[in-house]
Each structure stands twice: as C-alpha cells, then as structure tokens.
C-alpha cells in the first residue's frame, strides 16, 4: 500500500465507523473492497492489519451494537472475510475473538440489523471469502454457521438464497478437496465412501438428502440447485461419490406425481451429464431417460435439447430425446394432415391421442411449447453433433404448416387441427419463431415441392397486410436465406429457375412494402433490397427483373424519408444499387422534371445536409466501400472524390462519421502505397503518395483528429499516421539529407489543438515537413494513452479514498471553508 493511502486510511476508517457520517455512494464501498482484495492478493493480510491497526479497530467497532448503517455492516463482514482468507491472518483475528463476534451468534445474526438483506448477503459473502483453509472449516462447524446457511437457502431475498446455495457448494468442495486430494484415482475412489466424508461435508449431504425427500417443493428445488452448482463447478473426484449417494433420491423424485421442481431437476441432470467425471455413470442415463418420459413436453424440451447438444451420450437416449423434441411438431403435422396415416415426423408415434397429450389445451402454454421447440431445433441444426439423419423434409413441412396455421391459410379437417388453428392464428410469437427456424433450415434444402411451399408461404407472409413489422422483417430474412440456398450450383451466383419465378413476385411485394406507412416495414424492405442486390446484382435475370420494376425508383425516393433509419437504409441501398449500375434516376411526382443528380451527388448531399447521424454514417460506409471496390463514379477522379468526402466528414459533428472519414483516408492511403508491398515504400512512390494526400488535405484532418475529444477518432487517426510512418523509410534517407524542413509552424498548431484551440488552420504543408512531424510525434505513446480507459487517472485507490473523505468533508481543504 502506498504511503499516501496508508495516511488517509485512519481517517476513512473513522468515517466508516461513525454512524453520523453516512457514506452516500454504495459503489465507493464496492471499489474499496476491490482495492483491499487486490492488496491482500498481492501481499500478506496479516502484515496489512498490523501496519494499519485502524482496520482491526474498525472491525471491532462494528461488533458493538449501535446504529451503523446496514451497508457499512455488510461491508465490514465482507472485509473481514477478505482478510481471514489467509490462514495466518485468520488466526490473528481469531485471537481477538473477532470472527465469532462478526459471524457467530453474538454478531449481527441475532441483531436487528439481520433484517436487512444486504447484511445477510454480506455475512454470506464474508464467509465465502473466509472459507479457504481447514481452520475455516473448523470455525464454520463450531460457530453453527452451517445451520444458518441452511436456513438462508429459503431466504425471501433471491440474491441471499442463491448465495447461500453457492456457499454450501463452496464449503462442500473445500471439505471434500482435503481428503480426496493427493491420492491417485484408484486410491481416491476407495476413499470416496460416504462414511469417510468429513463431518462438515456429511452434514451438508444429510441436509441435501432431507431436502430431496421433503414433500415441500421449494426445499427440493433448493437441494437441486445446490447439486446443480456443485456438479457444474466442482470437478473433483468426490463429486462422483456425491452423485452415487444422492442419485437414488433424485430418481425417486420421478415417482411423484406431479414431479416436483421439474425445471431444477432438468438443470441438475444436464449439469451432471456435462460433467466429465460423472457422465460415465450408466445409472445417470437411465435416470435421464426416465425423466424424459415422465415430464410433460414443455418441461422435457430443455432436457432433450441439452442432451442432444452433448458430445457423448448413448445413442438410444439421443433418439429418445430427439423424439421428445420433435413431438410437438409431429403433432402439428398430424393435426394438419388431410387424411390419417400421412407420414409424419415420428414413425409409429403419430395419432390423435398423442397430439392431445402433447399439445396443451391452453393457448399460452401451447404457444410457449411451440416457440421453445422451434428455438431448440434452431440452435441444434448447425451443430456437428446434431441428430443424424436430420429429418429435413418433415421439419420443413412442420415449419410451413405452423406458419399456415398462424396466418389462417391452413385448412385442417380434424377437430384437433381446428383447435390448433384457433390457438395459433395471428400469433406473432410463433410466427417469428417459425420464420427464424425456416430460415435456418434453408441450409439443408429439401424436396422440390416442399421448397415451392416454403417460397409460397414466405410470399404469403410478405404479401399479407396483417404481418406485423417484426414478422415481416423475419420473413424477409428467411426469404433471403432461401434464395441464397437456391443458388445453383454453389459456386455460381445464378438463381435457379424456380427462384427466378419467385423473384418477380418478390419485387412486386417489395414495391408495395417500400410505400408502407410503417417505417419499420420500409426499413426492412430496403435492407432486403440491399442484400439481394449484393448477391445477385451481377446476374442478368435479377437485373432485368429489378430494372423492369419500380423498386430502384422507390428506393431512391426513400432518401428523402422522414425517418432517419429509413434514410440510412436507403443510402445503403442506393450505394449497392449504384455499385451494380442499377441506380434509378430520381424523379418524384413533386419534381418530375427536376435536374437529375448522380448517385454520388445524392449521397454527398445526404452527407452534408442530413440532420441525423445514421444516414451520414451510412453514406460514409458506402463511400468507403465504393473507394475500396473502385466504383465507376470514384474511378473517374479518385482524388477529387476523396477530397470532397473528407472535407464533409472532417467537419461532421458525429464522431462515427469522422472515424469513417479516417477509415476512408486509410483505404485511400493503402491504395496509394498498397502496390509497394509490406515494409517501407520506395521514396518516389512515397513522395507521390504524400503529395496526393496533401492535395486531398488528409493531414489537417488527421492531425486535428489526434486531439479529438472522442477517443475512437483519435485512435483511428493514430492508426492512420502510424501506417504512413511505417511506410516511410527511416529518417536520414538520402533525399532528406539536405536541409531539414521547417516544422515549427506545424508543431505550434499541434500544441494549440492539444490545448483545445481549434481555430488555427494548418495551412499548406510540404511532404517533407509532414514526414518530419510524423517522426517527431510520439504516436506510440499517444496510442497507449488512448488505449487506457477514460477514467484511468481517476481510478487510483488514492483518489478513491480522497473522494470518499471529501464527500463527508474531512479533508483539509474543506475544513478551511468552515467557520
């Protein structure tokens, strides 16, 4: 600890111990604790206490019954725990009977302060820090703390209850690590008999057993949570013994009807199944299989999905789990089937009865079940360990059927189908989930007639006036994925004939959607257009269809949209369309014969005049892309283009636009010097590049940006200048050996900018002067400073202590102001 902090510490302790001096800010106490944690991690706690007796005094002081705030009490408990984590310090504190006074019966436990959840939480966290060594275990056993922790598991505060459970796991781990450690696996296994467990562990295990046998569901849940944490976080061999001991009780839960705490049980089983130590237990898989068959489809879904994500598990169980997961979809297919006996998702399991059992009669539960099933399958699809064979075709059929139920276009003949239809029609949640799932399925394709149905249903959603904006966005995304999937063969970008047919209808829909009064819809429409153009802009069928439609014209009109997000998307679309030569000449009904602007002019207008940041940022992104890809309008006069854009961007109020401007400058620079390969550029090329850079006035922008009040701008500028300096040969090259350029005016300007005077222009610069300035600047140091977080200066412990003292008015400066 530095001497200045040590000097401030007694005053701070006095403030903390004084109930009349409230510490207003909770975060100060947290920061203080973090600091003490860092100090004790780095050195001896005992020494710290001995050198700063005020700390022990503070802890002693807290023990006395008084009106200390619950926050200070909680802080003190955690602080004591932090110190006592080191065994010698623990002994030191024990000598003074300090720890029983804080954590034992005579501490806050029995006092009025215990009512405050923050005190109970501090007590638990203090013990959690303290429980690091065998002495701590003895202390816990003697002080009766374990019983208190048991009772805190049912605490009304969820934070306290959860922390109590975690503390139990921690204690168990600490207790069990002792006996199991240091022995080989075989020997260890022999020692894992329950009777040999340490008393403390044994008590906890007995408590868990009691809970698991309890009739009260909350107690069962508590035990299951503790076990889930134990198997999830502890990987010692002892966990195996614990599982052997408790698994029969867990299995017995399945005999109850209804199964208590099903969600916690699922979590536990998955936690055990993921544990490398336990997953070899065949009994485990049996329990899991039983659980799968006992729980309702809604409860079993997460378990089934979890099992299928496991790398290793018995094949039979995987088949069972997949069956559970697919059941709701199989029922949907069954409900929609026009005639019984239509092949479904699950062979042999179909039937009305199954459907009635699986699909809950309540709308909200049924919707929840379908959404979670679709979400699980969506996550499973891309995984390498997903079930094989993957039933792509029936899944596609199921997704399409669900979407049909949701928009009312399904016409089921069965009663169940009618019921399902009534529940799902117009349900936005299921629509979104099914569209997401359908999108994911595009990676697998499917039989032609099904793909036709997929496009048909997607079009229905895109056309329907009832599709909500979010559903429509998802429908656009799914359509794009299916169109991408339909490209044949993969290397060729051409759309397959079927998709080409869809394309015409899509463009008609898009036309209408771009005129929607709902801005979200116009926005998603434009995004879709941009994506389509990106992928098929070079393809003849697409180009023909697009140019024959009104879409490019409408997209261009949306550059004047009142909503800034839409304008931003319109800018992106215009950029993409123009890159592909598909840009429409603008002619709105207002100005039918107005002068036609080029896309570049239009976007420059957005960059210079738009009042919102999003469209201007979008314009910058488009310009950078154009420069990178060599857009025709750019290639005509690249320097002029860069100069115009930089001029607009450098003065922009939005920092992202300025960053984008520097990015564009970097791309320009890379293009100028890129051909030279890595390392320094040849002097003539460098000189040429520098002259070009000077002409487009990059340097004034870059140097100013070094002192930009927005850090990312300064960082970007640093990167740009560092890149340039790396390309320049080290100083003293023959060309510069002559007279050294006059850099004084530049440095003077830089100094003024650094001081915040922005008015001063840089004026004309010679390339040599620039190189000299670049070399004279310590860009690396600047970059490192910028990389620090913005509060690094204010974050020192000394500043923290000063702040805390200042808020209560103890520091000398403030005293002078007192009468």
């Amino acid at each position: 600890m530095d001497p200045e902090c040590a000097r401030l510490l007694p005053a701070l302790c006095a403030v903390l111990a004084d109930p009349r001096q409230p510490v207003a800010d909770d975060t100060c106490l947290e920061k203080l604790l973090d600091w003490f944690k860092a100090v004790t991690d780095a050195g001896s706690s005992l020494l710290l206490l001995q050198e700063n007796p005020c700390l022990v005094e503070l802890l002693f002081h807290v023990r006395k019954p008084q009106d200390l705030s619950s926050r200070i009490l909680s802080f003190a408990l955690r602080l004591a725990g932090t110190f006592a984590a080191q065994e010698d310090c623990f002994q030191y504190l024990q000598q003074g009977e300090l720890l029983p006074g804080l954590f034992g019966e005579q501490g806050p436990l029995g006092a009025a302060a215990w009512v405050a959840p923050t005190v109970r939480s501090g007590w638990i966290q203090g013990l959690r820090s303290l429980a690091q060594h065998p002495s701590a275990l003895l202390f816990l056993a003697d002080s009766g703390a374990v019983d208190t922790i048991f009772s805190l598991q049912g605490d009304p505060s969820l934070f306290v209850a959860s922390a109590a459970g975690q503390l139990l796991v921690h204690i168990l781990d600490l207790a069990m690590r002792g006996p199991a450690e240091g022995r080989g696996p075989a020997e260890g296994r022999g020692r894992l008999q329950a009777r040999d467990w340490p008393a403390c562990a044994w008590r906890i295990v007995c408590h868990l057993e009691d809970c698991l046998c309890s009739e009260a569901a909350p107690r069962v849940t508590q035990a299951l949570h503790v076990l889930t944490t134990a198997f999830g976080h502890c990987h010692g061999l002892w966990t195996q013994g614990l599982w052997v001991q408790l698994s029969p009780l867990v299995a017995r839960l399945l005999e109850k009807d209804p199964v208590p705490a099903p969600h916690a049980l699922v979590e536990l089983l998955l936690s055990v199944a993921r544990s490398s130590v336990l997953s070899s237990d065949p009994g485990l898989w049996e329990t899991v299989a039983q659980t799968l068959s006992h729980l309702s489809p809604m409860q079993a879904g997460p378990l089934a999905a979890g099992i299928l994500k496991l790398q290793d598990c018995p094949q039979a169980l995987r088949i069972q789990a997949f069956g559970v997961l697919l059941r709701p979809l199989a029922c949907v297919l069954e409900a929609a089937a026009q005639a019984p006996g239509t092949p479904g998702l699950l062979e042999g399991a179909a039937g009305d009865q199954m459907a009635v059992d699986t699909l809950p009669p309540s709308k909200s539960v049924c919707v929840g079940l379908l959404c979670s099933t679709l979400a699980h399958l969506e996550l499973l699809q891309p995984l390498p360990q997903r079930p094989s064979p993957w039933p792509q075709a029936p899944l596609l059929a199921a997704a399409v059927t669900i979407l049909r139920f949701c928009n009312g276009s399904a016409a089921p003949s069965s009663e169940l189908g009618g019921h399902l239809c009534a529940m799902l029609v117009g349900c936005v949640r299921v629509q979104r989930a099914a569209l997401d799932f359908l999108g994911v399925l595009s990676q697998g394709l499917g039989p032609r007639e099904l793909v036709t149905q997929v496009f048909a249903v997607l079009l229905e959603y895109l056309v329907s006036p009832d599709s909500s904006p979010t559903v429509l966005k998802k429908a656009f995304q799914a359509t794009l994925r299916w169109l991408l999937g339909s490209a044949v063969p993969p290397s060729c970008c051409d759309l397959e004939p079927h998709a080409q047919l869809v394309l015409r209808e899509l463009l008609a829909v898009l036309q209408k959607r771009l005129c929607s009064p709902c801005w979200e819809v116009r926005d998603s429409g434009l995004e879709f257009l941009t994506q389509m153009t990106r992928h098929w802009g070079g393809q003849a069928t697409f180009r023909q269809a697009l140019l024959a439609s009104e879409v490019p014209k409408l997209a261009s009109q949306l550059l004047q949209d009142p909503e800034s997000y839409v304008r931003a998307s319109a800018v992106a679309a215009a950029g993409q369309l123009s890159s592909r030569g598909l840009h429409a000449a603008p002619s709105s009904p207002e100005h039918p014969a107005g002068p036609q602007k080029t896309p570049l002019e239009e976007l420059l207008l957005v960059l210079t005049t738009d009042s919102e940041g999003f469209p201007r940022r979008a314009a910058m992104r488009v310009f950078t892309e154009w420069l990178r890809d060599g857009h025709v309008a750019v290639a005509e006069d690249r320097e002029r283009f860069v100069a115009r854009v930089l001029q607009a961007a450098s003065g922009d109020l939005d920092w992202e636009v300025r960053v984008q401007g520097l990015e564009l400058a970097l791309v320009f620079l890379q293009q100028l010097l890129g051909a030279c390969g890595p390392g320094a550029a040849p002097p003539c090329a460098l000189a040429q590049a520098l002259r070009a850079l000077c002409r487009v006035q990059v340097f004034e922008f870059a140097f100013r940006s070094l002192f930009d009040c927005d850090r990312p701008v300064a960082q970007k500028s640093c990167d740009l200048l560092l890149f340039l300096r790396a390309k320049a040969a080290p100083s003293g090259s023959p060309q510069e050996a002559g007279e050294s350029p006059d850099v004084a005016p530049v440095e003077a300007a830089l100094r003024r900018w650094r001081a915040g005077e922005q008015g001063q222009p840089l004026g004309e610069l010679a390339p040599e002067a620039i190189l000299a300035v670049l070399r004279s600047l310590d860009l690396e140091a600047l970059r490192d400073t910028l990389a620090e977080s913005s509060d690094h200066v204010e974050r020192s412990p000394q500043s923290l202590l000063q702040d805390m003292l200042a808020t209560v008015g103890v520091l000398g400066d403030n005293e002078a102001d007192c009468y």
């Binding site: 016409a411 189908g417 006036p465 929607s516």
Partner: protein, 658 residues
C-alpha cells in the same frame, strides 16, 4: 319476452323486442346489397352501358330483354335500384312503441317503417347519429333522384320467371319486398319522429322499462342500448369497436349483469386487421400515384373516411405525395366534413382536448386549408375546372351502382395505371365490379371494419358475463368459406341462441319479480317480526293498485259492518273479503325432541322412519302417522279429530307463529 327478427343481415339488424308491456324495435337497417343486381346509374350518358345486349332465355325467348341486360357473362336488372326491406309481415309494425337506433348505418330503413306501416311511436337516437344519418339518406336520395330512370322492371320478380333466371338473380331472396328508394319528403318526415338522447341518459318507457344509450366506440354518436326493468336487464350490442379511432371509447362496464345480451354488428371481415388494411391502403395509394395513376376510393361520406384522411394527413408528406390533390365528392361532402368537427363531446378523449386548443379535432381541416383536400357536391360544376391528374378521389356509393363513383369507374377503368381501392366492407368487391368488366384498372380490396372481432367478443363476454347471448345465426358457426376456423364464431357458455330473418325467438328467461310500492300509512301499520337474525316478516292485507305499469299496495277499505249483512252488495263495493287470516307458521320440527314430547304426553310405541324428504313418525298404538317434511306436515289418523287436534297442537309448539 320475445324477439322478432326482421332482418337477416347481421350488421344491418332490425329486431323487435317485446319486453314487459312494451314493443321496442332495435335498429332499422336497410340491406342495400340488393342493388348489386342492378345496372349502374351513370351520371353521364355511357355508351357502353346503354348498348348492353338484352338477356334472353335459353330457348331464345326475349320477353325480358328490356328488363335484363347482359354484361361480361352476368345479368343485371336495368331499372332503378331497389333495396331489400326488413320483414314487415312478421309483426304488426303499428304496434311498435319505440325504435332505438344504434348508429347511422343502422337507420337507413327508417322512412319505410315510420311512413308506411302505421307507426305512431317515437324514435330515439343520438344527435350525431341523426345528423350523419340524414346526410347518408340525403346522399342516397340525391344519387338516385338526379339520374331519373323512366323504366322500372318488375316482370322478372315474378316467382315463375325468377326461377328461370341465372344466378345470382335466381337466388335473390324476398324480391317481392324490394322497394325503390324513399323521397326526401319521407326522410324529413321520418327524421321528425326522432327524439335526441345523450349517452347514459335514462328514458322511461310507460313506466315499464327504462332504456339507456351507451357509447359503443364505432362511429360518431354510435350507441349500444340497455333496456331494463327493476329486475331484468337486456343489453343490445350493435356495431361496437374497441379500437382507438375518432369516436368516444366503448362503455363496457355498463353492460355487466345482463340477463340477455343481443349481439349484432360484429366485423364483417374478421380475418382482416384494420391497422394492416390501413397500411395496405396507403401503400397501394402511394404506389399508384407515384406511377402516375389515379386512385378511386368508393366510400360513404362519413365514418372510416375521417380516419383514412387522418392517416393520409400523416402519410402524404413522408411518402412525398404532398402535391397530389385529394378530392372528396359527395352531395353532403361539405356538411360531413364540417359536422365531424362540431361533435366534440362525442369524440375520443384525444380529440376532445383539441377543442380547448385553437385547432380543430380532425386534421382534415388542415388538409382543406392547405388545399390538399378539396370537396365538391358532384363532378359537375367547380370540380371539372379544378380536376387535375394524377389524383385520389373519395366518392360514393360503395356499391358502385349509383353516385359519382360510377363516372370514375367508366373514366378510369380502362387504364392499368389506375387503382380502385375498396375500403367499405358492406359489399362484395367482385360483385360490385361485375358490370364494369372487363376492367384494366387495378383493384385492391382493403376492407376496414373497426367493429368487434371474435377475439374481442369473447373477451367482452367474459367480462360482462351475460346469462344468455342472442346473435344472428352467422355468428354461431365459422364462415362457410373457412369452416375450419373455429375461432371465427361466438364462443360462450351457455352457447349463444341464434336467429335468422323472419324468426321469432322466445328469450330463455322468465320474469320472476316485480317492484311494488307500499303506501306510507299501510307501511305504518305493519308489525314486522324477526324470524331469523336480519329477516323480519309481517303479514300485509292490502289492495294492489296497478296503473301505468306501476304497482301500489294501498290500505284496504274498512271491513264491511256486520250489521249490513242483509244489504245487497253493489258492484262498486266488490272488494276482496278480508277474512281474519290464520297465522303463518315458520321454523322446523326437531324430530328427537318431538318424539320426547309425544312420549311425555303419553304416546308410546313410537317409531321414526327416515324418508327422502323428511321423517315419518308412527304412533303404532294410535294407528296414526305424522309425516314431517321440509315444507309440510301431515297428520293422518282415522277420523279421530280429538287426537288430530292434540297432535296438531304438539306440532305447533315447535313452530313460530306470526
């Protein structure tokens, strides 16, 4: 209580409720879909329509060719359009005491009822309903009268001939009751019978029932009605909306605790969500205009048009359509736009508050001020000078059979650049377009019906919990075209009773109580006796006096003097005899104690048997049987009167008398 169903159209109802001694007509809707069978009435001579070929029977018989014309495979009646009236034979309409109108669309048959059936009662409606209803009627009369048609076809209506006609004429129902439009004189006379009411106003009908209009949220001044007596409550729900549009929100709470809820006027397009449709309307409008086409919106002069104009007000600037002219053409366009602004108290809260600001409640005022919206009484006159294309025209009639819309259909129908957007749900757009085929113009169907959908109905019914629901039969099964959509029907417990045209329903509920007043002096003479804590009884001897559906108990006249026994009674003295009444008994007989008492009084050999309704006490020695049940006690003994009286007195000991 009976319900006479005079209309089969669920959204244009006309029912008569007989409740207590009153006869109340609920709405007076006019089914105008019959006009779809007629040829349009063009404002300007249409060569196409006038040269349509006459229709002849398969055998070539052409005797109907003057009355029926053929157009694109459909047959139309070439005559003045006629409307399908509510049933007039089911009940003598001159006996109707009052007519309750729920909204301006549901009063269009009023002149037929009030002027031609001997009706002498009163019509109740809110002020906006009457004013806008008048505008709708005025427009209708104007549309039809300004293009006089000499010819009136009636031959085809002959039952034997109608059978030979092609569909849909062949299947048209009740053609004999179809009537030509009423005159303005009849309209004025009918409207003069209306008495204006305000929401929540209580109107006494002959002292028997009280009727109250409640806001229904559907249109300006639209109402649902509560019809109640002291112990019965009937709610009439017609054309209600829970969406936030321009009218005052729907009052749901007052519908609670109804014995019967008559449910009519739900949305005609249950699968279309109005918000989505408005979006569709705007998108298609913009798309057409941007391509240089014109947009035609066939509509009524009031109602959804206010909301559409408001949407467009917000939309046109963002869609870059500020320079496109919007025309509203109707004989009552001006009045409609102006009326809407003055009915502040009938508007939604948001619009009401604007009254206190220097701005009108509806933004169409600003559209008019800025010349973006222009209105004209007809296409003749100023309109032809101002007319500029591309443009958007709102005009009637939505049936496309009369009104200025006919002209625009003829004018713009040939170009695929133009679009007709149907927003009114009352007419099938395909049938409306039939006489204009072949049509190059684009047709968009965005029906906007803000009335309750089935989900909202089921929520409403759950909340207000009526004992019985009565609704048109169309609402008790899914639509025929979507028979699997079980969600598109009224779902309630017990299942709703359904009605159809010309049906009489006995409503499933009996009146059990009637309120009776007691005169103060009579009440004064009563001596209540508490028989249970909180319940006191008193016997009353009085004369029940009933007049004007009010019942009063008056003190009985003094009993006639016994001396006058010989005097002959006169008819005027014919008052009920006031005999000395036996005391009333109450309480129950505890069998065990009763047996003990019997034993104490010397009866022996007593047996008690339990029966389903009580007990039988057998006095075997006396050969007597005492049957004790909840509400009666019988002593059965053989002619031993003394024993019977003894036993009776023992029984009476356990009972209270008063």
């Amino acid at each position: 209580m009976k319900l006479y169903c005079l209309s089969g159209h669920p959204t244009l109802p006309c029912n008569v409720l007989k409740f207590k001694s009153t006869t109340i007509m609920l709405d007076c809707g006019l089914d105008m879909t019959s006009t779809l069978n007629f040829l349009p009435l063009p404002l300007v001579q249409s060569p196409r329509l006038s040269s349509l070929p006459g229709w002849s029977l398969k055998d070539g018989n052409a005797f109907l060719d003057k009355e029926l014309k053929e157009c694109s495979g459909h047959v139309f009646v070439d005559s003045v359009p006629e409307f399908c009236l509510p049933e007039t034979e089911l009940i003598d309409l001159s006996t109707v005491d009052v007519i309750l109108i729920s909204n301006y669309h549901c009063m269009m048959a009023l002149p037929y009822i009030t002027e031609h059936t001997g009706f002498t009662g009163t019509v109740y409606a809110t002020e906006p309903t009457v004013q806008i209803g008048r505008l709708l009627m005025e427009e209708l009369v104007n549309f039809i009268e300004r293009v006089p048609k000499a010819q009136s076809a009636s031959l085809w209506k002959n039952k034997d001939i109608q059978r030979l006609l092609p569909s849909p004429l062949k299947d048209a129902v009740e053609v004999s009751t179809w009537r030509r439009c009423y005159t303005m004189q009849e309209v004025n006379s009918a409207l003069s019978k209306i008495q204006l009411v305000g929401y929540s106003q209580k109107i006494e009908l002959f002292g028997a029932v009280q009727v109250t209009p409640l806001s229904s949220g559907y249109a300006l001044g639209s109402s649902n009605w509560i019809i109640q007596s002291h112990y019965e409550k009937v709610s009439y729900v017609s054309g209600s909306s829970l969406l936030t549009t321009h009218p005052q929100p729907m009052d749901q709470a007052s519908l609670k605790n109804s014995d019967v809820l008559i449910l009519t006027g739900l949305t005609q397009i249950p699968t279309a969500n109005p918000d989505g449709m408005v979006g569709e309307f705007c998108s298609n409008l913009a798309l057409t205009v941007r391509n240089g086409g014109n947009v035609l919106v066939p509509c009524y002069p009031s109602g959804v048009i206010y909301d559409l104009l408001e949407c467009l007000y917000q939309y046109i600037d963002s869609a870059g359509l500020s320079s496109i002219p919007f025309y509203f053409i109707s004989p009552v366009a001006n009045s409609s736009l102006e009326f809407s602004q003055i009915f502040a108290e009938w508007l939604c809260h948001n619009k009401q508050t604007k009254v206190y600001l220097p701005e009108p409640p509806f933004p169409h005022a600003e559209l008019i001020q800025t010349n973006k919206l222009k209105h004209y009484p007809s296409i003749h006159g100023d309109f032809s000078n101002d007319f500029r294309q591309p443009c958007v025209v709102f005009t009637g009639h939505p049936s496309l059979r009369f009104g200025d819309v006919v002209h625009f259909m003829e004018l713009w129908g040939k170009s695929s650049l133009n679009t007709v957007i149907f927003t009114e749900p009352d007419f099938s757009y395909l049938e409306a377009l039939a006489p204009y085929q072949p049509l190059a113009m684009k047709c968009i169907y965005c029906p906007i019906d803000t009335r309750l959908n089935f989900i909202q109905v089921s929520k409403l019914l759950k909340e207000v919990q009526p004992l019985h629901v009565v609704c048109p039969e169309q609402y008790t099964q899914p639509p025929p075209a979507q028979s699997h959509r079980m969600d598109l029907m009224v779902d309630c417990q017990p299942p709703a009773m359904s009605y159809r045209r010309a049906e009489v329903l006995a409503l499933p509920f009996k009146r059990r109580y009637e309120k009776i007043e007691i005169m103060p002096e009579l009440a004064d003479s009563l001596v209540p006796m508490e028989i249970k804590p909180g319940i006191s009884l008193a016997t009353v001897s009085a004369v029940l006096h009933t007049k004007d559906n009010k019942h009063v108990l008056q003190p009985p006249p003094r009993p006639a003097q016994p001396t006058g026994g010989k005097k002959r009674k006169r008819a005027s003295d014919d008052i009920p005899d006031c005999k000395v009444l036996k005391p009333l008994l109450s309480g129950s007989i505890p069998v065990d104690q009763f047996v003990q008492t019997l034993e104490k009084h010397g009866f022996s050999d007593i047996k008690v048997e339990d029966t389903a309704k009580g007990h039988i006490v057998l006095l075997q020695e006396a050969e007597t049987l005492i049957q004790i049940e909840e509400d009666s006690t019988h002593i059965i003994c053989d002619d031993d009167e003394v024993l019977r009286v003894r036993l009776r007195d023992l029984v009476l000991k356990f009972l209270q008398k008063f």
